[in-house]
């Protein structure tokens, strides 16, 4: 308690020197929390969007389906059993039939993934209600990225060619009835969505599907022979790995910022111990043990981080709150990198994040303050009183 009181007095007495360190340290606090908040916000948004748009409550994959092996696609389909069809009717499952195809926008050849989905499904947020039958051709919806890459607009017709279950090529025109916007690129890039029944008819696979998406609300999970259930942990593994990679990158910022702040504290401590030898000697003469003086100097250094936390709260909390509300706009074209990322990321700050960061800074500052302060224990008090350099 005495060390706290004296340390506070010393820091307040040192005025500018104290506040320069505190400002640097508070900047480290704010930037570390902000950066981690951005990563958290992105993580939450990416998970939310992926669940809403792509994976629902989990997916059943036809046992041959392997999204990373294009050659497996033509064998990755199976008839839906009555149980499955019943669940589809009840809105618990959304079947998707996937086949490889080729699109010819403006005479160019573009490989695509042709996907059939029921226009009535409500399991994922894909706007399938636009896929109503059109007398003028096969209705199709595509994402903004596919539309931009292929210069397609609503109302355009584009030729697609596919192979049916027997390996026979066929072609037809699809009409772009809607262009949707999504933060999940894997639902957009080079994908053409058409009505499920039409796709089954075109491919000669009536009543068949490649994957079944479960509704996230129902917690649906039954065993279907020939279908493998993939849960969130599996389906979100790519996002998790990407966020972890970004977190590692963020750690570099963290280390650089902390090093700068800690260097300032370390320098201050070394300078203090060098400059304040008379003061150290005086404390000992007045009745402090050398260990108590070491504690005093360590607390003094560590108290920088407490003051920095207070200062960071004063100016950082409104700034971080504003950023959390207004968000951080990503540069144009970021979503073209294939990352599940929104146009605007809203940082998410948790109590654990703030307390964790504060504790790390506090502990590091204490250690950095203690290291030079240990020298005091080796000082000769009589030399210290005279300010003799030791």
């Amino acid at each position: 308690m005495l060390a706290l009181k004296l340390a506070y007095r010393n820091l307040m007495g040192a005025r500018l020197r104290t506040w320069l360190n505190v400002i640097v340290l508070s900047l480290a606090f704010v930037v570390i929390i902000w950066f981690k908040g951005v990563i958290n916000g992105w993580d939450q948004q990416a998970r939310r969007d992926t669940i809403d748009w792509q994976i629902g409550g989990g997916q059943y994959w036809q046992e041959n389906y392997d999204p990373y092996d294009p050659f497996s696609i033509e064998d990755s389909h199976a008839p839906m059993t009555e149980t499955i069809l019943k669940s589809v009717e009840q809105g618990e499952l959304a079947p998707i039939l996937i086949s490889q195809a080729t699109m010819y926008p403006e005479g160019r050849i573009q490989s695509i993934s042709l996907r059939g989905i029921s226009p009535d499904q409500k399991v994922i947020e894909l706007p399938t209600s636009y896929l109503v039958n059109d007398e003028n051709g096969i209705p199709a919806i595509i994402g903004e990225r596919t539309a931009r890459n292929n210069k397609l607009a609503v109302g355009d017709y584009v030729t697609i060619r596919w192979r049916d279950v027997n390996g026979i090529f066929d072609a037809d025109e699809v009409k772009i009835v809607h262009i949707f916007k999504t933060n999940v690129p894997v639902m957009d890039l080079s994908i053409v969505w058409i009505p499920l029944e039409k796709h089954q008819e075109m491919a000669g696979m009536p009543g068949e599907a490649t994957i079944l998406i479960t509704s996230k609300e129902t917690g649906f999970k039954e065993d279907f022979p020939g279908w493998n259930f993939k849960d969130h942990y599996f389906l979100l593994s790519e996002i998790r790995e990407m966020i972890e990679m970004k977190s590692v990158g963020g750690s570099v910022y963290f280390v650089v910022l902390m090093s700068l702040a800690m260097l300032a504290i370390f320098d201050t401590q070394v300078l203090s111990i060098f400059r304040r030898q008379k003061e150290i000697g005086t404390h000992i003469a007045l009745g402090m043990t050398q260990r108590q003086v070491v504690t005093l100097f360590t607390v003094e250094g560590a108290m920088h981080s407490v003051l920095a936390a207070i200062l960071a709260t004063i100016y950082g909390a409104p700034l971080l709150w504003l950023q959390a509300v207004v968000g951080w706009s990503m540069p144009a074209g970021t979503d073209d990198f294939g990352l599940t990322i929104a146009e605007t990321i809203y940082p998410a700050y948790s109590l654990a994040l703030v307390l964790g960061s504060t504790m790390i800074v506090l502990i590091t500052t204490t250690i950095v303050s203690y290291i030079p302060a240990r020298r005091i224990a080796k000082m000769n008090p009589t030399d210290a009183i005279r300010g003799k350099i030791q």
């Binding site: 005086t282 009745g287 402090m288 008090p381």
Partner: protein, 234 residues
């Protein structure tokens, strides 16, 4: 334990400092007793050992051989905590360069020893006010050391040494940085406190202005006590 009001007993004290492969003998066979309420001075030229002896009495240093007993405690046998406790409770220090904490104001500097004694706020305020009255610095209580003259700084230093009413005050060249007028003021203040509070003052000095105030002169030369003279004051 103390005998016949003797606060300090020094017997056959030797203090050596290592120098290269050998050593330098700063104090050689010192024998002394200093009693309660004395106003004594260790006098002698530079290098005679007076500051070394003062430091040993103040438990800031330890003898190489022999014994130094202060308030019944053998300095050489005290651990760091015990010697800190002795200084904290019973000893006051006045330094040549004042050694005030520059970031504290006068009040806070004088209050510091009481904080170490864990006194209550009210008690601290009362004792600091009293000490500032003794040295006539009530009007400077909010000033910081850089705003004070040398004489004022030394008066703060006296107040800090006296605030806890120690049994012994050790003053190392207290007037070395002061002009004649300030030196006399300081010495008169200390003499007054010695008379009123019966606090033992021990000086280490070679300043004639100090020497003329002493009631006892212990002359040191080359680490030996060469003369020990009681002065009758009128």
């Amino acid at each position: 334990m103390m005998k016949n009001g003797q606060l300090i007993t020094i017997q056959n004290l030797i203090k050596d400092y290592p120098v290269g492969r050998g050593f330098f003998r700063a104090l050689n066979d010192i024998n002394l007793t200093i009693g309660e309420g004395e106003f004594a001075g260790l006098i002698g030229p530079s290098g005679s050992g007076k500051t070394t002896l003062l430091n040993i009495i103040g438990s800031l240093d330890v003898p190489t051989k022999g014994e130094a007993k202060v308030l019944g405690q053998s300095i050489g046998n005290l651990n760091t905590r015990q010697s800190a406790k002795l200084r904290n409770h019973s000893l006051g220090f006045i330094f040549q360069t004042y050694n005030l904490l520059p970031v504290y104001n006068v009040f806070e500097n004088v209050e510091l020893p009481l904080l170490l004694l864990k006194m209550s706020k009210d008690e601290r305020r009362k004792l600091v006010d009293q000490a500032l009255d003794w040295v006539g610095l009530q009007d400077k209580r909010k000033s910081r050391p850089p705003q004070l003259s040398g004489g004022e700084c030394q008066r703060v230093s006296i107040a800090r040494a006296m605030v806890k009413s120690p049994q012994i005050v050790l003053a190392d060249e207290p007037t070395a940085n002061l002009d004649a007028k300030n030196s006399h003021n300081i010495l008169q203040t200390m003499e007054k406190l010695n008379e009123e509070l019966k606090t033992t003052f021990i000086f280490a000095t070679h300043d004639d202005k100090v020497i003329q105030y002493l009631h006892r002169k212990i002359s040191l030369d080359d680490g030996h006590v060469v003369n020990d003279e009681q002065i009758k004051k009128q």
